[in-house]
Symmetry: C2
Subunit: 462 residues, 2 copies
């Protein structure tokens, strides 16, 4: 192992240095991959020198998500403490299903879960787990809701027309999961949003009433804390009232921005969260841990066990259910996604997590101010969001983002809302400062100014 | 990052050294965790010295799955090349959903999938993906089968009484997944096995016939390549014939032992695999990569897309569907589980993977020989399995395994088959040689000899 640890260090140092010098790796068109890199797997082993060179080439050609020019996803940057935690998790290689083989790692997972429940004001006997990504957290929530609505589904299968509700701006995993759990995509009601991308509660209530009148069985409402495109927060107290009235499970999908629970300044965005039946968030987004670090908690421990536990005598051989985490997981063997967040949290404290969250809103504010003060830009998003959506000189966002990518200038994506397409700048990399945010805009301006394709205006008329 | 890389190296070296000296960490009873380790998370940051000490304590107290005394699970050991790959994946932190942000990592994932399809004799346009663990691979297979049987379920939900078939010795994820997908646990038929733990095909056929006569809708048969307890292989050609006769989807769950596809000597155990509609295996088991590295392939690319693709304009912005791997995944954001296997495979070649697989059968043979030649032992398992099941001096397996664990002597688990309970030695750590396997038995003998609790026989009479 020592030799390969040395090789890891060598490549890591090369990469870190290269990231400073070239924050964007030159993109390789997919059809050129096999020409540019030796990706193929063959029968014979590689010679040592050849092997090292191949790995180095591969690593240095891979898109760089940790640099100051990466704004393409709802994650970015590299938190060194969290990275340390995840590197250690790889080396330890525990599976989180039992206390016997994960030991104290079970303890750190439970400490995180209890602390999160505590922070959001959940009752003491609440519980949760780590899911492999935000989509799977939503899956778990929907499944608990389904089984809580009708416990016989677990044994007998789906027999009713169950309906569920989510905003038109919510994540695509909601209809996907509805198909998975046997409810079906057609039973997903996409509720219209207001101009800020929030679910309109009156529309929700009337749709539920209509469904009930038509003999459907409403069971689940998904609220979003940070919609994928606009970063909008649904109004939890309003939705919660409706859920209580109709006895529906309320889940808050905070995959993107649920980490505002750590900020005294921004937790007002998820006011009422303690009324939700379940809540999930991705620490690999706002908190900057490596992928994936997805947490789901529920105040109904019973339903967590009812939907996910399964006896397995060959597996659960020591210690109680409370310490054998496989009993509350969709997975069996499961990697340790808790350690990265625990190491970060231990190092900076809850105060430090708050600073991380607040800094992202601060960067977004800088970006919005710049846009507002510059007539070449149009702003589409609003305060209290770390998605800053805009267009520059009416250039179609897709054209601009693709050109920036192909020329290795910037990694940024686009989104749409109300038929408007725009660039979506996500200020999620906490390493960035005002300087990098302003440099982002300067890079666009310089690129557009020098590229002849952007000089004619006719292409860009809407 | 450099400072935390240095800390990683410091702790890694401490751990590697400590693993040599103490292959088993002293187990901490769960109720003592907070007394023994500083696990709690608080508001304030930790001082640097305190932080380092805390992390070190935690890492050194965690159960050691990489050592020569760990035989407790269907994984174990530490392959240094695969570990190198996974450490690099942490540092790169790509999400595998799009080519734009994963680039060549998409290429290496696809290379592995194509190579696996090729090796098992699947047609050229077959495809697959990486799932977060073997249970989720089985989930994906069952879901594809459900949707292939009745494509309206995706949109309308489950309306029929669908039935599925698996052996009594198969993994618990099968009934769990049946509950998840809205089919229900009661619709899972657990088919009896023969004395070697293989599904009895006549029983399968008669159950299907009976279900059809009763108006049920059979859609899926799960065969197992390496049952969890005995390591038994279902007879694929026999099951395949039945599946073709009744037009059912045949999945082969090779989570544990599917890696025999790499061995000319042992691939006869999965003869007929090319007839299966889907196949999954965990490289984190027999191939020794860090968790998780679960691969599922299918010869029905269409069904992979039909069940798992979802448009998302904000996400899929460049390159074709073939390179945007999110279209065939249950997840959205997804960590890079491919790199660890690719680095290992590139380094040792397919020949090297074959050696890894063969060595485990060789170690199992040594263990069985030892047991057979020693009258104090009873053997319960058979040739062609890397699960070696036995009892020693009629000591109840649970008592023995728990005592070995609590005294930090050995990490090994127990299992049951046909009402017999026995110790299950899994020879999956390829670093081990004959010496470590014989030392395993000597450790048990010495432990039993010295512990007064094992001196009376009355406790152990069956």
């Amino acid at each position: 192992m020592l030799k390969d640890l040395a090789l890891f260090n060598k490549i890591a140092n090369l990469l870190l240095k290269s990231e400073e010098e070239h924050p964007i790796a030159n993109p390789i068109p997919p059809e050129d991959l096999y020409d540019k890199l030796d990706i193929s797997l063959g029968a014979a082993p590689a010679s040592e020198t050849f092997f090292e060179k191949t790995i180095e080439d591969l690593i240095l050609s891979t898109p760089r998500t940790a640099t100051k020019l990466f704004f393409n996803q709802l994650f970015g940057g590299r938190n060194s403490k969290a990275t340390l935690g995840d590197l250690l998790a790889v080396l330890l290689n525990n599976s989180m299903y039992t206390y016997k083989v994960a030991g104290p790692q079970v303890g750190i997972e439970k400490e995180i879960l209890h602390k999160v429940c505590d922070i959001i004001g959940y009752p003491k006997d609440s519980d949760g787990t780590f899911a492999p990504g935000g989509s799977m957290s939503n899956f778990m929530a929907m499944l608990m809701a389904r089984d809580a609505y009708n416990s016989s589904i677990k044994t007998e299968g789906v027999t009713q027309k169950l309906t569920l509700y989510t905003s038109a701006e919510s994540h695509y995993s909601i209809p996907k999961n509805a198909a998975f759990i046997g409810v079906g995509r057609e039973q997903v009601r996409h509720i219209e949003t207001n101009k800020n991308g929030q679910m309109i509660s009156e529309k929700l209530e009337s749709k539920i009433t209509e469904d009930l009148a038509n003999g459907f069985h409403p069971f689940f409402v998904n609220a979003t804390a940070g919609t994928t495109v606009l970063g909008a927060f649904d109004d939890i107290p309003l939705l919660s009232l409706i859920c209580r009235k109709f006895n529906l499970w309320l889940h808050v999908d905070g995959a993107y921005c649920g980490s505002v629970i750590f900020s005294s300044k921004y937790k007002h965005l998820i006011t009422g969260l303690e009324q939700a039946d379940s809540f999930s968030f991705n620490a690999h987004k706002m908190l900057g841990t490596p992928l994936t670090c997805s947490i789901i908690v529920t105040k109904h421990k019973k339903h967590l066990y009812d939907s996910f536990s399964n006896d397995a005598a060959y597996l659960y051989q020591t210690d109680g259910d409370d310490y054998n985490l496989g009993k509350t997981s969709i997975q069996c063997g499961r990697r340790n996604d808790a350690l990265k967040l625990w190491v970060l949290w231990k190092s900076v404290g809850t105060e430090g997590l708050e600073k991380i969250v607040d800094h992202q809103f601060y960067l977004a504010k800088i970006a919005r101010s710049y846009i507002k003060s510059n007539p070449d830009y149009t702003l589409y998003s609003f305060d209290d969001s770390i998605s800053v959506c805009f267009n520059y000189k009416n250039i179609p966002a897709q054209t601009l983002c693709t050109a920036l990518y192909k020329n290795a200038e910037l990694m940024v994506g686009f989104g749409t809302f109300n038929n408007e397409e725009f660039v979506r700048l996500v200020t999620i990399n906490t390493k960035n400062t005002e300087k990098e945010i302003l440099a982002f805009f300067k890079a666009i301006e310089k690129f557009v100014a020098k590229d002849p394709a952007f000089q004619g205006t006719e292409v860009f008329e809407q």
